[in-house]
């Protein structure tokens, strides 16, 4: 008995590539296939406990480890920054456990794992974008009961969401939904868009790359396959608005055509949130 366990254990040790055992990876891949087949549908999966805490990218990490192979090149960002502390930690875990190559340049990567941003560089068909999802349920703001939420998605009954957007517009003059803007995928399911800023939403629509959303804590995976329509929920006469501040441009590279974040202070200034893109853009300017 002990010998048999040791034997099985040895076999397991040799095969181990990327923290998760092979059975878990297979299970996650199956959930991914379902998610790709039914765009926007939240597929339940047996989310494993990872060496990072739940809420810290454990869902994204499981997706990356399930799809990664030795020839992949990984880029990991948090808020658009390759050097953000949690991005560094996740990248280190992925690279140490799989020995894949890492990069900060989006075009060199085959897998981009991200929290809260899509890189400014256009991704293409070679890329898989993996987004870490804190709250996968787009309707939670209008309904708390999970049984009712399941019914609403099953029947594509999004009336409460529409009413909520309408009330928002009437009360506030604008739709105040900030990040994670609710979008209709493939004209069927409403999804929570991680929270990426509204700036990134149009870049999901008909995108050439596969986007996978991983919510480790809530144990859900969903996907936007390549060339799938992604439509932000809004009204015919209320155009969808992305973040914009008049006159703001990056104090490093001068761009006004990237997602900017403010550095507050007496002389407030703006910088690109995508640090790698900004660096290359500065190089071009010089």
């Amino acid at each position: 008995m002990t010998d048999l366990l040791n034997e099985l254990g040895a076999e397991h040790d040799q095969k181990q590539f990327g923290i998760l055992d092979e059975y878990s990876k297979r299970e996650i891949r199956r959930a991914i296939l379902t998610a790709v087949a039914v765009p926007g549908y939240q597929v339940p999966f047996g989310s494993r406990e990872m060496p990072v805490a739940r809420g810290w990218g454990s869902g994204g990490l499981q997706l990356t480890l399930a799809v990664i192979s030795p020839s992949d090149v990984i880029k990991v960002i948090d808020q658009g920054d390759d050097q953000g502390v949690n991005a560094v930690n996740l990248r280190r875990l992925i690279v140490q456990s799989t020995k894949v190559h890492e990069t900060t340049t989006a075009s060199e990567a085959s897998i981009v794992q991200s929290r809260h941003r899509i890189p400014e560089d256009g991704l293409d068909e070679q890329h898989i974008l993996i987004l870490q999802v804190p709250v996968p349920e787009p309707l939670r703001g209008v309904e708390r009961d999970m049984r009712e939420l399941a019914r609403m998605h099953a029947e594509a009954d999004y009336s409460k969401m529409w009413v909520s957007l309408y009330e928002d517009k009437v009360r506030n003059g604008v739709i105040t939904q900030t990040t994670g803007y609710p979008c209709l995928v493939n004209d069927r399911y409403v999804i929570a868009t991680t929270p990426i800023p509204r700036w990134d939403i149009p870049r999901l629509d008909q995108s050439p790359f596969l986007t996978l959303f991983g919510a480790g804590r809530e144990k859900r995976i969903y996907a936007v396959p390549p060339y799938t329509p992604v439509t932000p929920l809004t009204f015919e006469d209320v155009p969808f608005e992305v973040e914009y501040t008049p006159g703001a441009n990056c104090s490093q590279c001068g761009s006004s055509k990237s997602f900017l974040v403010e550095i507050p202070g007496p002389a407030s200034r703006w910088v690109c949130s995508d640090t790698d893109w900004c660096e290359r853009n500065s190089g071009k300017a010089q």
Partner: protein, 369 residues
């Protein structure tokens, strides 16, 4: 800088790691062995094993030491370690009647069938901080060790006879008195595996019970106490029928012969809670029973679990109690998500600021017209 937008994230992280490791390994005091932690902090070890869903005292002691005593962190270390291991086998279902008690109390009767056995409990001991000197404590420890060697001190925990080690449970007696709602079912459904399939309401009872068995102890106690002073009122008038702590055999089928073999014992706490039914649609001339069982010696958890099990059954989907139990009691889920608020959120915050200004602009435009 170093926290987020700045360069050099890796240096900052490595420095923080080095500091933690250095302070932990190089603390200015004696080294603590896993044996000491198991021997001296058994309730912490038991609690962590229950919440991690793993039975291994040594490994748990190592986790508690590495986590510097943060028990939820220790649970995290153990559970993520478990994720790296494939499953070799499934244990056979063990009948809880096989529990060999080392402690059993029945609050519902003065003289129940079988023993009332206090065992290792400090329930009836005054909570006085022992302010003896370290030297006196060590001398007493050595004296007790020598007495135990010469067997002048009875420290065996198990009673002698089989009637006493595996007493009939009070539930049987209540059944004979025809005082119980009969909820026994004739089929034998496979238990729901919460580690492989996320449990969502409506869920099977096994899904609810296993979620609670792995739940964070404090979270379950709080869910119960919300019924006493908080906004919830699911628990009516519960009397405990059984509170047991003891050993359960663990058997698997041998992978070659297929025969059942015992591979050891685990300790568990088991509780039965008798609920006084008072609902208009309930059998008000009978009682019903809630069940709690968790790894190790953790009576607070098992009692809360048994109370909430019957509460959830009686609620029958009317409220969101089941959702609360299934989804809000896991220690890793709640503390992980709470702590994630420390991560940079400046992209989302920038988007929020932009909307605040947009609302203001809209109001100003309204006023101007």
């Amino acid at each position: 800088m170093g926290y987020s937008a700045a360069r050099g994230g890796i240096d900052a992280i490595e420095a923080a790691e080095k500091l933690v490791r250095h302070k932990r390994l190089n603390a200015d005091c004696e080294w603590v062995s896993p044996e000491q932690i198991v021997g001296r902090f058994r309730l912490a070890v038991d609690r962590v094993m229950g919440e991690a869903g793993i039975w291994d005292e040594q490994l748990t002691a190592v986790a508690i030491r590495q986590a510097e005593g943060d028990l939820i962190e220790a649970v995290h270390l153990l559970r993520s370690y478990k994720s790296t291991l494939p499953r070799f086998a499934y244990s056979q279902a063990t009948d809880a009647d096989e529990l060999q008690i080392i402690r059993r109390i029945v609050p519902a009767f003065r003289n129940p069938p079988g023993p009332q056995m206090l065992g290792r409990t400090s329930d009836y001991t005054g909570r006085l901080l022992e302010l003896t000197t370290e030297q006196a404590g060590q001398e007493e420890s050595m004296l007790l060790a020598s007495l135990a060697l010469t067997q002048e001190l009875d420290t065996s925990e198990s009673p002698a006879s089989i009637e006493e080690t595996q007493p009939r449970r009070l539930l049987e007696t209540l059944r004979e008195m025809d005082l119980l709602v009969d909820r026994r079912r004739s089929d034998d459904p496979e238990p729901f595996d919460i580690t492989r399939t996320p449990a969502r309401p409506p869920a099977s009872r096994s899904a609810r019970l296993s979620s609670m068995a792995r739940a964070e102890t404090g979270a379950l106690v709080n869910q119960w106490y919300r019924n006493i002073l908080g906004p919830d009122g699911y628990v009516h008038e519960v009397t405990l029928g059984e509170v047991r702590h003891g050993y359960l055999p663990l058997r698997i089928n041998h992978p070659l012969t297929g025969n059942a073999i015992s591979i050891g014992n685990i300790r568990a706490t088991e509780v039965e809670a008798i609920e006084d039914l008072n609902g208009i649609d309930e059998q008000r001339d009978r009682f019903d029973i809630g069940y709690g069982l968790c790894l190790g010696h953790n009576e607070k958890k098992a009692i809360a679990m048994a109370n909430l099990d019957i509460a959830c059954h009686r609620d029958n989907g009317r409220s969101q109690l089941e959702q609360s139990l299934l989804l809000t009691t896991d220690g890793l889920d709640s503390s992980g998500f709470l702590e994630h608020l420390k991560l940079p959120h400046y992209v989302t915050f920038r988007s929020m600021v932009e909307r605040k200004l947009a609302v203001r602009d809209s109001k100003n435009r309204e006023r101007a017209t």
